[in-house]
Amino acid sequence: MMSVYRLTLRQLSGKWRLIIMAVLASLPVIITLLMLRDDDAPSVGDFETAILSAMLAGAIAPLVVLAIAGAAFGNEVEDRTLANLTLSPIPRWKIALPKLLATITVAAPFIALSALVTAHFAFLADSTATIAVTVSALVVVALYAAAFVWLGLVSTQAIGVGLLYIVLWEGFFSGFVSGVRLLSIRHYAIAIMHGIDPRRFAAGDHLPLSAAIALCLLVIGGFLFLSVRRLRRMDVP
């Protein structure tokens, strides 16, 4: 398993990719600092909606994770190197799981750090709120990673489909139609943030913490299961 993990880390960590991720991850920090300079600072609700939900969880995190997770299996399929892994006497989950973990390892530090610093400044070093935001960011990375790793394995159009999901489903529909929130990765992560610090993030209509945790585990476990199933059944190029 470590071999697959190390291989995937190397495949996903190109210099330019890491630089672009660092730049993207710094944007919420910069904009928060700018917002705080203004005497007329936004409310918690506005900040959450605009920066945490829309920008970080709704745009930066899914796009960064899509680029990385889509490549985890997608590049192997495109380059026809997947057989190197599948022709090994190891169970398929020992291929899928390290791919997922490597994806999270590459993407999570940037997103989590961005969330941590953003929340630290925005909530004036309130540790509970900072922890809530950071945990939520880690959760959103894990959720998107599980979904997009699977997508990269099943479809050569993974990026197009992933982009449509992010822009149309997470970006558009889930903002309007409340029922869609039950099927929105972004809203699970936001619900966890609310659950960890209900005092700070009281407003708004969100899933209870226990339900959100269960759905997150279902999403991660479900997509991992689907990835393993796909590895067992697919014709490996």
């Binding site: 990719r17 672009i20 993207l24 944007l27 910069i30 904009i31 700018l34 917002m35 300079r37 203004d38 605009a50 920066i51 829309a54 920008m55 745009a59 930066i60 796009l63 960064v64 899509l66 680029a67 889509g70 490549a71 997608g74 590049n75 050569t156 159009q157 993974a158 990026i159 197009g160 489909v161 982009l163 449509l164 992010i166 822009v167 149309l168 970006g171």
Partner: protein, 299 residues
């Protein structure tokens, strides 16, 4: 010891017409259109491009239906008075979809050839790098233009047929057609060039697509938020860097009024010539960069 022999086994030279560079350019153009729309590549390749075109058309259709319903309920002209979305607003409403479409298709046209070395096969033909990129650009531009115009025509037809007196509507609103067509040209040229420039920097389609969409989706709240924090000229200039709005300002100039997307942005206060020049610059400079990346290529 042993001598060498060259065998004359009756090889005959090709004696047909040799069509040269023009034919080669047309071939690249045709291939680009087919690739963009998924023709000749099985059903799966058609799903995404036609889904995008379908969504765009649906937006136009929905706008027409809503306006028609308003006019039927409230009498002729209700939709216009109520400020319901119309031609001037369409590109703003559809811009993110068009961006994603461009972001997904442009890398298909450019990245694969470089990744798999096929570009060399093109360049050993009577084709220069300039010919290649110009043919690709033109083909994709026309596809984007079709994707931009089709829903607008659907909207126009819908609005005129939904009107109580279609011929009167046509007579009063026929200028909308050249307006949205011209605005569509600006939109298509801008998107095509930006998407292809992004794709020219990497051989992995995925990274090009995500980078372009990321640039747009992530910079927008940034520039919008920053512009709100600032005042005066500074705010206007920051607002000009909202990428999705760049062609929309030209749209406003053409229609002579602000669209819903731009009616509250600071950049709307700039003079028309600044808005148009800005869009041209954002198309021409990336275009020049794109050209420079390809013109020096040799096999």
């Amino acid at each position: 010891m042993t001598g060498g022999t060259v065998f004359d086994i009756g090889y005959q030279r090709y004696t047909g017409v040799r069509e040269g560079r023009g034919r080669a350019r047309r071939a690249v153009f045709k291939d680009s259109v087919r690739t963009a729309l998924g023709f000749g590549r099985g059903a799966k390749a058609k799903v995404l491009p036609w889904f995008f075109i379908g969504v765009l058309s649906a937006i136009g259709l929905v706008m027409a239906i809503v306006a028609g319903a308003a006019n039927r309920l409230g009498g002729p002209g209700t939709a216009e008075r109520a400020g319901l979305p119309s031609h001037v607003d369409f590109y703003g409403a559809a811009s993110i979809i068009m961006f994603v479409f461009a972001a997904v298709v442009a890398p298909e046209l450019l990245c694969r050839d470089r990744r798999e070395g096929v570009i060399n096969l093109y360049l050993v033909r009577p084709l220069t790098g300039t010919d290649y990129i110009a043919a690709r650009w033109l083909a994709f531009f026309l596809v984007m233009l079709a994707a931009a115009w089709a829903p607008q025509f659907i909207l126009f037809l819908g609005l005129s047929m939904g009107d109580a007196a279609p011929l009167v509507y046509l007579k009063n609103h026929w200028l909308d057609v050249p307006r949205f067509m011209l605005s569509g040209v600006a939109m298509a040229a801008f998107l095509t060039t930006l998407a292809m420039l992004t794709a020219s920097f990497t051989t992995r389609r995925a990274y090009a697509s995500v980078f372009l969409v990321g640039l747009v989706v992530i910079s927008s709240p940034f520039t919008v938020g920053l512009a709100e924090e600032m005042e005066g000229m500074a705010a206007q200039w920051v607002s000009m860097f909202t990428i999705t709005n760049i062609p929309m300002h030209v749209n406003d100039v053409i229609f002579g009024k602000f669209s819903e997307m731009t009616e509250e942005v600071p950049a709307r206060l700039f003079a028309n010539w600044i808005k148009v020049t800005w869009c041209i610059a954002w198309t021409a400079i990336p275009g020049a960069l794109l050209w420079s990346r390809y013109r020096k290529l040799t096999p």
